[in-house]
Amino acid sequence: MKAVFSDIHEWLLEAARVMRRQFSLVFSDMGVMLFFFFLPVAYPVVYSLIYNTEVTRDMPVAVVDNCRTALSREFVRHADATEAIKICGYAADLNEARRWMNEHRCYGVLEIPADYSARLGRGEQAMARFYCDMGLLYRYRTFLSSLTELQMATCTELRQTGLNLLGVSSSAMGESVETQAFFLGDTQQGFASFIIPGIVVLILQQSMLLGIAMLDGASNERRRRNRGYDPVAVRDASPSASCIGKALCYVAIYLPLTLFILHYIPELFAYPHQGDAADYLLFIFPMLLATAFLGISLQGLMRERESAFIVVVFTSVVFLFLSGLTWPRYAMNDFYLMLGNLVPATWGIEGFIRINTNGGSLADQATPYHWLWGLTALFFVTAYLTTRRRSVTD
């Protein structure tokens, strides 16, 4: 019995030694410090500054008014007053408007046909056309929602006057079915409020992976120089103690950064920030652990320090898409779903957004939370196996 306790004691000491050694390795390496500290602090701020204007307003639009009546001018005035549209000028015909578009002077053309007011006067349906540049879907979306509102407001106004002329009291129409639209989470439909809470979680994962990859690359370089033996590694540590010690070191470094990223960034830039801090901090903990073990599992791939860039950097774009932030997960095929399931940030982003932006509780995030702990276990096993293989080859 006593032997068991002394074994455990021994193991804990080993893990602590590995952890202490890893700390000193991290703090003596400028490259790793850059990834572990500069990246998580600077990137959320940089991304926020890029998207902080949240919405796009008053995009230039050319008008081709073939009708030129009081009614058509009123319609154009109202269009100019919407959030999305700013009338940049009247073009003589569609060809001129098209030339403006080619010269990138406007992103849309509003065309009013010659019979616009005549049809309205006759009680027929009038038609206006809008040609939209599709370079950015975000512009199209903004145009579309403004135009729909404009159309509905104009319809209501025309209907009132039309029905009055017909002798039907317009109050009989006012009592129709109302519709009310509400937006949840990102209530102001801002771009930054949608993308930043997800991106910051990905930054946590990717910066940690980059730093770990660089440490491993450096260790592999030392090995090659010293005939397969790393002079600064803790020599007699068992593989499991070595994995746990390293992971604890990384997670400990990341705890204050996590607080900064998940709590202070939304506060500083006034993003949606509904959830309880205890909920999302507890939630993100297994993601940090899983990421640390994932990083340790990749150690065989880094031949040298610089390999980290080739292997890790491009994965950020892939993980961003797999996470479902820009492209929803329900539209993916089974292969990509499975691949996404294996990335800690996928679950981290999903759970954090639902807690932070939708105000869910930790209990609501049971599925992502279980997955994160599952991934922690899985990557611990892979980290253990790769570490053991390396200590055998030593």
């Binding site: 009680g123 319809c155 039907v168 949608f194 610089e306 950020s316």
Partner: protein, 382 residues
């Protein structure tokens, strides 16, 4: 010539080069094309809260389910239940039909249909909003129309009275509103640019790290231009072939829209590859340190995907941030793609974007004398 031969030997000596120059860009292209192949993520999972349970309310939910945008995967009994469903991530939005909806609608008491869209996930949130909005407006219109006909107005006139003004919206170049055509080329070619920058810096600074640059300098007859050009030319060829392959993958095998002259696009592609490599050379000229140069190169390249404004317009950014968009090659390529492939406008209107791409090699040449020192005396600082 001997410089090029030497470079080809180096390129084939390590798997890192094959990975970085060929495997990763092609894999990324396949990844984006396949993941975006649905074009639009239709059939958004949504919930319905039907508190009325009358033929009219059931018809509304049936009609909503029949649209391509919305798929009612869940039905809830109350607002609170549906809200919890959103927080658990079961649905992207929900539609509420209130109590006594049919009775109030028929008797003209003005009931309200309400719908909630979860915009924390932007694309599905917007789509579910669009689906809900269309349906609630049509439903409301239908009820009013029945009402008007009942008051003795002819059905035609009632229809016009309801919607006196129609809007006809033409999404130019991408009438399918496909995300693939919009995100695919910019991300795929952007990734080639990313790898081009990283690999240029990696291969140049490897010579510093291994101390082989004096050999290269001697092989080039002590001519700096020849040394650097010989180093990068084989990679230019490889990257351009890979880029052409990705181009044909998109525009030929997957029929992405090519409304303009394809030659202009290919010219843009070539200039883009050269500009990305030049961007790498510029970084090495300023920071001749392997790790630091690679760090700066990757940190900047990863930012390009946001700051080059593939999704959020430059003119809406802060001015001081927006200008950085134009120091990146991929921004110009993106604009060329929009002009030449998506909109198919004459080359004349895109001239500045091509000039923009040409600026990168010019700056790289101007800065290249800075490289002479490490070429002669490489110093590796780990």
């Amino acid at each position: 010539m001997s410089v090029i031969k030497r470079e080809i030997k180096i390129l084939s000596s390590r798997p890192a080069y094959l990975m970085g120059l060929v495997v990763i860009p092609v894999a990324l292209a396949l990844f984006f094309i396949t993941i975006l192949s649905p074009g639009l993520p239709l059939k958004v999972p949504a919930g319905i809260v039907d508190m009325d349970n009358t033929p009219m309310s059931r018809e509304i939910s049936r009609n909503l389910s029949a649209t391509e945008l919305v798929d009612f995967t869940r039905s809830y009994n109350s607002f609170n239940e549906a809200m919890a469903g959103v927080q658990r991530g079961e649905v992207m939005g929900f539609f509420i039909i209130p109590d006594h909806f049919e009775r109030d609608a028929v008797s003209g008491r003005g009931p309200a249909l309400s719908f909630y869209s979860n915009l924390t996930f932007y694309v599905p949130g917007s789509l579910v909003f669009k689906g809900f909005k269309t349906m609630s407006v049509t439903t409301s219109g239908k009820i009013v129309r029945t009402d008007l006909v009942g008051k003795g107005i002819s059905a035609d006139l009632a229809g016009v009275a309801l919607k006196p003004l129609a809007l006809d919206i033409h999404p130019l170049g991408n009438p399918w509103i496909s995300y693939a055509y919009y995100l695919g080329p910019s991300f795929i070619i952007g990734c080639i640019g990313l790898m081009a920058v990283i690999m240029t810096i990696f291969s140049l600074t490897q010579e510093i790290k291994r101390g082989t640059s004096p050999q290269r300098y001697a092989a080039a007859g002590r001519r700096l231009g020849v040394a650097i050009l010989g180093k990068l030319l084989p990679q230019t060829v490889i990257l351009f072939v890979v880029a052409l392959f990705c181009h044909s993958l998109m525009f030929h095998w997957n029929h992405y829209p090519m409304n303009g002259n394809e030659g202009n696009m290919i010219l843009g592609l070539f200039l883009f590859v050269v500009a990305s490599q030049s961007f790498g050379v510029i970084i090495v000229s300023v920071i001749p340190n392997p790790r630091l140069a690679l760090s700066v190169g990757s940190l900047v390249s990863i930012l390009t995907f946001s700051i080059a404004a593939f999704s959020f317009p430059v003119e809406a950014m802060y001015g001081a941030i927006g200008i950085f968009s134009y120091i990146l090659p991929v921004r110009y390529f993106f604009l060329i793609y929009l002009d030449q492939a998506l909109n198919g406008i004459p080359l004349y209107f895109s001239r500045f974007w091509y000039v923009g791409l040409l600026c990168f090699p010019v700056v790289a040449v101007l800065l290249s004398p800075l490289n002479r020192r490490w070429m002669r005396h490489p110093v590796y600082v780990p």
